[in-house]
Amino acid sequence: MKLTETLTDLANPTRFLALTARILPWLAGATAFLLAIGLYQSAMAPDDYQQGATVKIMFIHVPNAWLSMFVWSVMSVAALGTLVWRHPLADVAAKAAAPIGAAFTFLALVTGSLWGRPMWGTYWEWDARLTSVLILFLMYLGLMALWRAVEDPSRAARAAAVLTLVGAINIPIIKFSVDWWNTLHQPASVLRMGGSTLDKAFLWPLLVMAIAFSLLFITLHLAAMRNEILRRRVRSLQMMQASRVSFTSEAGAGSRDAGASKEIGAA
């Protein structure tokens, strides 16, 4: 009940802007603090007996990979918000999340391939986990292309929501690809039945980094949502301005370029 009330309250963009303006500095501070601790712990973590110092790539790679899937899940919830509840901020959230998710996915792919070079002897291997994450990256790009293809934001939002929900099928495939297929990528070792197989010395820095990256996403996402709301306001102000200019010029200057201004007014 409380949650629904809060969500309804946030439907008012002005209230959302005021709230986020207050909590964003705290979030940014917490993100910086946790990232600093996480990076320090990662640097201080012992070398692996097999992998040596390259194991430290894990502290960047794994949070990025988790986030790449988490962001699509957030977008799927936002897509439901757009299609089912018609929440006004849902499509803003979905649109703002797409480029951030694409960035996390790209970083997961890059760090993974840098880690794969010393460990597997190759930058890229067409195994199930790598391929499915690459498909996720392509779908992020396709979604961004869809957002950019349509001028009317609410139209684009509904189309993007359908595509997001269809693409969500890929998320469980990525998660379980290492269990379903016998692949080069190692199976899940942190979140698995029967507890983590990771040593405590690696687990703690990894968890701190994961929380720091999640906070980083929330911070970036809220900031991007603010930008998107402001961008939409600027757009509607420009449209109003354009129609006002066309009306005054029609009334004042008479027939000079009246045809052109009528077109703007109609649009």
């Binding site: 391929t131 292309a145 869809l146 293809a149 269809v166």
Partner: protein, 222 residues
Amino acid sequence: MSALAALIRRDIRIALRVGGGALIGVLFFLTVTVLMPFAVGPDLALLSRLGPAILWLGALLASLLTLDRLFTADHEDGSLDLIVMSRTPLELACAAKALAHWIAAGLPLIVATPVLGLLLNLDGTATLAVGATLLAGTPALTFTGMIGAALAVTLHRGGLLLAVLVLPLSIPVLIFGVAASQAAISGPLPFGTPFSILCALSLASLVIGPFAAAASLRHGLD
């Protein structure tokens, strides 16, 4: 039920008659397959090894080429609005349209496969394997592609956007289609495993595709 049958019959008729363009897909399939030996060289041993992959890629691109027609023509002449407003559930209507599209544009690709297999030096088993996998896999291409077609028609942007949206969704079908063909030709995996997954993909897209396309049409057209 009779409304759906009428819709299927109408769509197939339109696709096969002048201006329908269903058979352009087969022509495109032929052209892509003929282009490949020019690109990789006329080495028959190499071509027979790459054959299944070439045929699958050609069929994928050919089915993508004709997807554009699935809703655009109906949108232009207004019959799509009638279909959306009619008493028949839109999901079923979408499924019927996709089925008609597959019969008109997908089946000819499978019929053409043996002929193109000859050009690529495929033997009988290989041609049969590719034909069987295409028969099991092309419905998945049509039904997932329908989602992209529905999105593209509501956005008034066809073509390029459609390809960008649909191709990532069709990668699993391509993977298992080619894997099953290779398994039948050279092993060592059994043919049944990837083939069953391919059938599962088709069945899943049969369920998901109409609902997603109908949702996008319902929310997108105004």
